[in-house]
């Protein structure tokens, strides 16, 4: 992204040629991946023209000048219908204005390219959408990209866009970031404005970026948060590995990755959050209940318009009693106390992002501790409990060339995103973490 900004602002390349190249790559590849639900070709070219005119006049341009970006299909973009991956919203009126974060990116002269596929109403970890199709993983198109922000992740991994936005309620940025080998950030809850974003569970909802590199992630986050680089950097970082629930339910590759990253920070203890499993179940219940209530009215008059798998989950959620929801809230409070205690002792906690690499689309299952579980509901096994705490979490891609990607979560205190970036920078420098381009890009885009 820095290279694009520098080349565009330095007149080495026009924003128009960046957009045209980007659109050509999408045209060549997206039929195989199904990342996009809408391309904003005309407005992208119009915005590129404006940027080129600014450069020609010698006017200053933004920090993301000429950087193409896309958004999950739940962000408002003026003049477009926000479908949120749902057929029942096809006839909704177009948004009148951009979501705040879309406006911020455009104000930084990033160029909006289009909308990206997702699980219907963000309820799933697979991006298997009954209406808009399944998004495929660029590392193996027979496998899931993860979800619910699957289009946002797969498009960046395939090199179609350098920057996309997704949303993360229970893991919907981190899960696809893990399966597609990217950096994906769930920021501190309420750190980034949600205006113009179709909600799911407001007490858990966050939005965050996907990028191939850590440098791009830092650049994107600072533009989204309207922040500058901090003057001081963490010199010593106290790190602990999360065991228990996060160690006993996943692929040993994830545990080995956590250990390798832990070793990079010296002697990192293995600690447990005893309520992690219960917190995951509590998040599951809260999501079902409040998701169900959000959609109750629409379900009453248009239930058949929903993706059947999503509809059944929402309808069941409405039926959940208040006393059970209260019990879930009590567990979340107790889990938060455990997590805060750990984060008062350690700056960074580390855990696998997903229990496995991307499963085959035809399977739809993952193997967890010898049990076969639905991928759609369980890829968030390790992201979901941490979501309830509102803390920032960066999923970083383990460096494992030639193998399917797998991510590791770096977790810190509220508003400590810069600490996450500092810790990740050390891992990138050590060669433990980083993006490995999929063979897909080499075969399909350059041919």
């Amino acid at each position: 992204m820095h290279d694009i900004q520098s080349a565009v602002s330095g007149k080495e390349i026009s924003a128009m040629s960046v957009v045209d190249t980007c659109l050509a790559r999408i045209k060549a590849s997206d039929a195989h991946l199904n990342c996009f639900t809408h391309l904003a070709t005309d407005s992208a070219r119009a915005q590129a023209r404006e940027i080129d005119q600014k450069v020609a006049r010698g006017d200053s341009v933004g920090a993301l000048a000429g950087v193409p970006f896309g958004v999950k299909d739940l962000f408002d973009v003026a003049g477009e219908v926000t479908h949120a991956g749902a057929r029942v919203r096809l006839t909704e009126p177009a948004a009148e204005e951009d979501a705040t974060l879309v406006a911020r990116l455009k104000a930084a002269d990033a160029i909006y390219i289009g909308r990206l596929n997702m699980d219907e109403f963000a309820y799933g970890f697979a991006t298997v959408n009954a209406h808009f199709g399944t998004t495929r993983n660029p590392y193996d198109t027979d496998r899931l990209a993860g979800g619910s922000s699957g289009g946002s992740a797969a498009s960046v991994a395939a090199g179609l866009l350098p920057l996309t936005l997704g949303s993360d309620t229970n893991g919907s940025v981190r899960v696809p970031a893990s399966l597609c080998g990217l950096f994906g950030l769930r920021p501190t809850h309420e750190a980034l404005p949600m205006q113009g974003v179709f909600p799911f569970i407001e007490q858990l909802d966050t939005v965050g970026p996907f990028t191939q590199t850590l440098g791009d992630m830092v650049m994107a986050y600072r533009a989204l948060a309207n922040r500058h680089a901090p003057s001081d950097r963490d010199t010593s970082i106290r790190v602990a590995r999360l065991g228990g629930w996060f160690r006993s339910n996943g692929d040993p590759v994830g545990a080995a990755g956590v250990d390798a990253i832990g070793a990079a920070f010296g002697n990192t203890p293995l600690i447990e959050l005893p309520l992690a499993e219960a917190a995951r179940s509590a998040a599951f219940l809260i999501t079902a209940k409040y998701g169900g209530l959000l959609h109750q009215e629409t379900l009453q008059h248009n239930a058949m318009g929903y993706d059947p798998a999503v509809r059944d989950r929402l309808v069941a959620g409405v039926a959940l009693s208040d006393s059970k929801v209260d019990a879930a809230k009590a567990i979340i409070q107790a889990f938060n106390r455990q997590l805060q205690a750990a984060l008062s002792e350690f700056d960074i906690l580390i855990a696998p992002t997903t229990p496995s690499v991307a499963p085959k689309i035809s399977d739809g299952w993952i193997d967890v501790g010898g049990r076969r579980l639905s991928a759609r509901a369980n890829l968030g096994l390790f992201t979901q409990p941490l979501s309830v705490a509102g803390v920032p979490i960066l999923s970083v891609p383990l460096k494992r060339p030639g193998k399917l990607p797998l991510g590791i979560q770096l977790i810190s205190r509220k508003h400590a995103e810069e600490s996450l970036f500092n810790a990740a920078a050390r891992l990138v420098k050590d060669g433990l973490v980083g993006f490995t381009p999929p063979q897909f890009e080499l075969q399909d885009v350059t041919s």
Binding site: A278, F284, P308, A309, D312, G317, A327, I331
Partner: protein, 31 residues
């Protein structure tokens, strides 16, 4: 009731059982 809804209700009960057991342990008394 549709089979899919029934399956999801069962799943929610499974998760509630995990929550309830953890809460019992925290409070030191059966629920």
């Amino acid at each position: 009731m549709a089979k899919g809804i029934e399956t999801n209700l069962e799943l929610l009960e499974t998760h509630y059982a995990i929550v309830a057991a953890a809460l019992d342990k925290l409070e030191g008394e059966p629920r």
